[in-house]
Symmetry: C2
């Protein structure tokens, strides 16, 4: 059973996959596989992954066979063990059972890497798979939280070239996420305004960090961008659960995101980024204070000793300058 | 003037070097230079760096000329501006002036990379340079905190091959560090024991995470190791300020650390690591609750979207297994 361990002094939590201990140490590192011959995510190689738990397929096709557009499978090397029934957790101990959900969303049957190589309809299918799996785990488990994330490129921690994202569900809400929610709730109580709605209004008034805008979405480089060219994407209309986004704006989001990645690819030196979706924790009811959002974090430089030791990051490109570069492409 | 910006909701702080905005974006990323022809840290190329602020030199040699063993220079691309006089800081604002100290400790005149290629005497000189610069900034500035760190290898964020470390001083104590101090102080108040002394005793009793021991020092893989093969080094004798470590145990530490790096190099797949030294913040008096320590964090896998989005890490090698591998080399 994996474990979620806590450092008693720093409070840092780590997911430790104990059952992988006997694998050779060498496999702890792997570089991106850019060949499609043995790619476990390519159409026709369905037997290389655990059996699918969700797919968008042609009606005449068969489960775990070709004929799919998006395919969701359990992670072959999960960081947490899948359970639906949550054990009673003693949150005061430094070692919790590593239970949760760890799934891979295979975004296309074709051996391509990024969202600039998918069609808008394909990205829309990926987003609808995110919704389906987030709503599944919200409904069918006692997990408290799930994050959807995507890593593209070796520098961003990807170990597979073929376009994929991951969902990781946890029995607790991570402290960093809980902290953000508490701050947002405090702001709401004081002002009766959603702080994210406020941020959209401020960025639109100030304009110098805006990257792109549409009727439904806004993208900007955050004021305290953690690394160069970070982009935050928010829906204009207040909404706390990504799973409830209707089909029409979801399709618009697919096109909006693809445009952002095209802009990024023209500016980035290293084609690597992390992407994640923050939606309402499962343990929360619909919230006035929280607004779902997507963060895109290009990985042009690696984090190092200073960042580990202090928790601060160093960003050599001010967001005002990054946004100008991205906007003017 | 660089800025220290804070995200109002997440609380994340970032050092933004505004004056670097006009540099071409391409230079945001750089790979390790493994050629010594144009290495700015090699003996004979002293004019390629800002003028030295400290050096261990042969008595007959001249400042900023050959004849040195360790040389400390201001960082050519500092993340903070050097000031000795601290302005009054309004800590409630989201944007502080990025003032502090950012120095490079060039560890050897020779074009080598790691501490396995230095002699124990050379490592001892490096440690004594750490002490000199930490004590200098403690005494001569109003800065609140400084961290010494070393990045080796591209995967660990190093942009220069030639062996070097860095000192970064700040006008505030990073929240992550302050959090650890508060937790340690609380433990001290409750038990009248230093929690780090306690950790040494526990690890020595339990034994399964111990990597190496000497009369003066203990090294173990922490219970909640953030990544595979993390090593924490502590002096057995309680001490909160690294700057006050006497010459004899400092020399012993040099040899102890070198042995750890030899062990790591035999186990690691990717020869990359971060190393940092946590000593008492300048703003604290000598403390019963805090014990200086060194963290070594091998970078066998990159952090990715999950880590950015949650603040948690994933470690595929339990520390008990990592310690066994490192111990048995």
């Amino acid at each position: 059973m994996p474990e979620i361990r806590t450092d008693p002094l720093t409070g840092h939590r780590v997911l430790i996959s104990a059952e992988r201990a006997n694998r050779p140490m060498a496999t702890a590192a792997s570089s991106c596989d850019t060949s499609d011959a043995a790619c476990p995510f390519c159409e026709g190689n369905e037997q290389e992954t655990p059996g699918e738990v969700f797919a968008i397929r042609n009606p005449e096709s068969t489960i775990d066979r070709p004929g799919w557009k998006v395919r969701v499978v359990p992670n072959k090397f999960p960081a947490v063990s899948t359970v639906h029934e949550l054990l009673a957790l003693d949150l005061t101990t430094l070692c919790l059972p590593g239970i949760g959900a760890h799934e891979v969303i295979i975004e296309t049957p074709r051996h391509v890497a990024g969202w600039t190589e998918l069609s808008v309809a394909e990205i829309d299918d990926v987003l609808s798979a995110y919704q389906a799996r987030l709503e599944y785990w919200r409904r069918e488990s006692n997990l408290k939280y799930a994050i959807v994330f995507k890593n593209l490129g070796y520098e961003a921690g990807a170990s597979q070239f073929h376009a994929h994202s991951q969902l990781l569900g946890l029995p607790i809400v991570p402290e960093q996420v809980a902290h953000e929610h508490r701050a947002a709730e405090k702001f709401w109580k004081q002002s009766k305004r959603c702080p994210y709605c406020d941020q959209i209004a401020q960025e639109q008034a100030q304009r110098d960090r805006i990257v792109a805008e549409s009727d439904e979405f806004v993208a900007f480089c955050p004021f305290a961008s953690r690394l160069a060219c970070q982009i935050r994407v928010l829906p204009r209309q207040h909404a706390s659960r990504f799973g409830l986004l209707p089909a029409q704006p979801r399709r618009a989001l697919a096109g909006f995101l693809q445009e952002l990645f095209i802009r990024l690819e023209r500016v980035l030196v290293i084609p690597a980024y992390n992407f994640w979706l923050q939606t309402l924790p499962f343990s929360s009811l619909d919230a006035n204070h929280f607004h779902w959002h997507i963060e895109i974090l290009p990985r042009q430089s690696n984090i190092a000793g200073f960042e580990w030791g202090t928790g601060y990051t160093i960003n050599q490109i001010p967001p005002e300058y990054a946004a100008q570069r991205l906007r003017n492409i």
